[in-house]
């Protein structure tokens, strides 16, 4: 560990429970740690924060049936009240700009500021999807360049940029598979999905009209190849595999799986949510994958969670490319990049598209951010992203496996995620206590109770973002909380005690959610 201050002095926040100091504040605030009421409680429906001009005319008769009978119940806040409200709320939040966000399966990595600068260039930020394409050549060029590198990195034949997030990309991939079978005049109604799959996989398959059959896992957390082969047949449209899988393990039999599925005329969909672990190292195309979505908001560092829209381009194999959705970009011999849409698809020989996934071309702001990330890292940098992501996860795994059960730890290194379980904790202590204890330590908890195939799962994905020092801080906290549980520290059941709110009643919140503010009158 480095010591930031050689004198050893460190600022402290004071005791947690300030009521012990003999007084409580009238405001509920604790120094500069601010309490915050609902906007409805700060403002009132009678007040209005803006000064609207009185209408000069009575509304037209035709509109009369639509006139409101009562004023809407909106909180009337002044501008400074509104600004302060959201600023104060933001201080109660935890985000990737505040500290590590080790949510397994989510790849919460740093969003480089260079991405933001490029995305805000007027040529990208101030264009409209309905502008004539001749006036947005630069934006199309950037899309074509992004498409080129996504194809290059995955070893595939083409890419549909338009899907707006991971599950949307899954649907796009399955619709391509469906279109291909339809084109061949084949009726296939089953998609095989491993037990450890992301929940969205079976949901997507069902949404696309397929029956879902699950494939069991082997004892070492991978797809059971023999069980998969048993389920294969002329009724199987395809298989959805996540690689690396949700246990943080590489599917060693991926090529054998693909070959077996292809042998019966099925297609292989790969959930690319975990591409971060293999980018620059493994090309899914070489493993026999026919379609894979790439979460730009994971692997390619565009904002994620509440921070920004997702973007889930789908790379396609030679076999599925003809069915890919419109629109997409293509360069002609004269060097110009065109947007291929319904009215010019014939010219580009793309006559079998299954349709569209979106009204327009996709998330331009995410395309520019992802392309910036790729180009600023370069081929060697992207390879190092995968290496560091895997190294960091293995560091966490090996630093904590003496305190927390690591179900697949003994079998060898993990990929980008360290998986623990609560099976070695004493009676009455569970994954939930560890997660809540981490909040008191100032960290966002890891993903808990997922994947379902591991009891009390704790899935830690540090990503390549975290430095050695940052990882050591997290590990020290995780070890401290685990030790509290192992020692039977009763106070851990109350965690978090230092957060703005104590342990919430998640059951009540799920059973009787209160989603709408109701005023005294409207209540």
């Amino acid at each position: 560990m480095s010591a930031p201050n050689p004198s050893g002095w460190q600022p402290t926040m004071g005791d947690a429970d300030y009521a012990d100091e003999g007084f409580v504040t009238a405001s509920g605030d604790r120094g500069l740690l601010l309490e915050e009421a609902l906007s409805f409680e700060i403002g009132s429906a009678e007040k209005c924060g803006v000064d609207l001009i009185e209408p000069e005319h009575e509304p037209a008769d035709a509109l009369a049936p639509f006139l409101r009978k009562h004023a809407p119940d909106l909180p009337g806040l002044t501008e400074p009240e509104a600004v302060r409200h959201y600023s104060r709320l933001s201080r109660l939040n935890y985000g990737i700009d505040l500290g590590p966000f080790p949510l397994g399966s989510c790849t919460m990595k740093h969003n480089p500021r260079l991405n933001e600068k490029v995305a805000r260039l007027p040529g990208f930020a101030d264009v409209h999807p309905l502008q004539p394409t001749a006036t947005v050549r630069g934006a199309l060029e950037a899309m074509q360049e992004l498409a080129h590198w996504l194809i290059e990195l995955t070893g595939m034949a083409g890419v549909a940029l338009s899907p707006k997030a991971g599950a949307h990309g899954e649907l796009c991939g399955l619709l391509c598979i469906k279109a291909a079978h339809d084109d061949a005049g084949e009726m296939r109604d089953v998609i095989l999905v491993p037990e450890s799959a992301h929940g969205t996989n079976p949901a997507t398959a069902a949404f696309a009209g397929y029956k879902v059959e699950s494939i069991p896992a082997t004892a070492d957390g991978r797809v059971d190849l023999a069980a998969l082969k048993e389920k294969l047949g002329p009724h199987v449209a395809g298989v959805m595999i996540t690689n690396p899988n949700t246990c943080g393990l590489f599917e060693r039999d991926m090529k054998a799986i693909s070959d077996a599925v292809h042998a019966v005329g099925g297609y292989v969909y790969c959930d690319g949510a975990n591409f971060n672990a293999i980018v620059g190292k493994v090309r899914p195309g070489d493993l026999g994958v026919d379609a894979m979505h790439i979460n730009l908001h994971k692997t390619f560092s565009t904002p994620h969670g509440g921070g920004g829209p997702g973007s889930g381009p789908v790379v396609l194999s030679e076999a599925l490319c003809p069915y890919g959705p419109l629109p997409f970009t293509e360069r002609t011999d004269d060097g110009l990049v065109h947007l291929v849409e319904e009215d010019n698809a014939d010219e580009f020989g793309h006559t079998k598209a299954f349709g569209r996934m979106t009204a327009f071309h996709g998330q331009m702001g995410m395309f520019t951010r992802a392309l910036t990330y790729m180009l600023s890292h370069g081929a060697d940098g992207l390879k190092q992203v995968a290496e560091d992501a895997v190294l960091n996860a293995n560091y966490v795994l090996r630093q904590c496996e003496d305190l927390l059960e690591a179900p697949f730890g003994k079998a060898g290194p993990c990929m980008h995620e360290a998986l623990f379980s609560d099976t070695n904790l004493p009676e009455g202590y569970s994954t939930l206590d560890i997660a809540k204890g981490l909040i008191d330590e100032g960290f966002h908890p890891m993903t808990v109770y997922f994947p379902l195939v591991v009891k009390g799962a704790m899935l830690v994905e540090p990503t390549e973002t975290e430095s050695r020092i940052g990882l050591d801080r997290f590990i020290a906290s995780l070890r401290h909380v685990a030790t509290r549980a192992l020692n039977g520290d009763e106070s851990l059941h109350a965690a978090p005690v230092l957060a703005p709110r104590r342990r919430l009643d998640e059951t009540l919140a799920a059973r009787k959610p209160v989603l709408v503010w109701k005023g005294e009158d409207s209540g």
């Binding site: 879902v212 998640e506 059951t507 799920a510 059973r511």
Partner: protein, 123 residues
Amino acid sequence: MSRHFTKDHEWIDVSEDVGTVGITDYAQSQLGDITFVELPEVGSTVGKSDSVSVVDSVKAASDVYTPVSGEVVAVNDALADEPEKVNTDAEGEGWLFRVSLSDPGELDSLMDEAAYTTYIAGL
């Protein structure tokens, strides 16, 4: 009346070729607090081991598979307002749905209580 169990932790009580299905007490204890139960449609035809119902808990959403084939003849509507009944009385008031059996012979492939107790002890 006889009670049978599946490896997926469903139980079924059969009386006059109508089976009442729920999840076992062991299953509810593993899932934690149940927050929502999605039930099959009355009148729908189901095949043995089909996923016909979903039980949501604070930890996970879990499929419930029907132990037998047949037609769904009733569902436990009380669970809409009180899903917690699955926690408090999984093998009684927390039942999920009733199936009129199309092939009572399917019961032979299920476990009896003693076999199920041995099965979960080994998990």
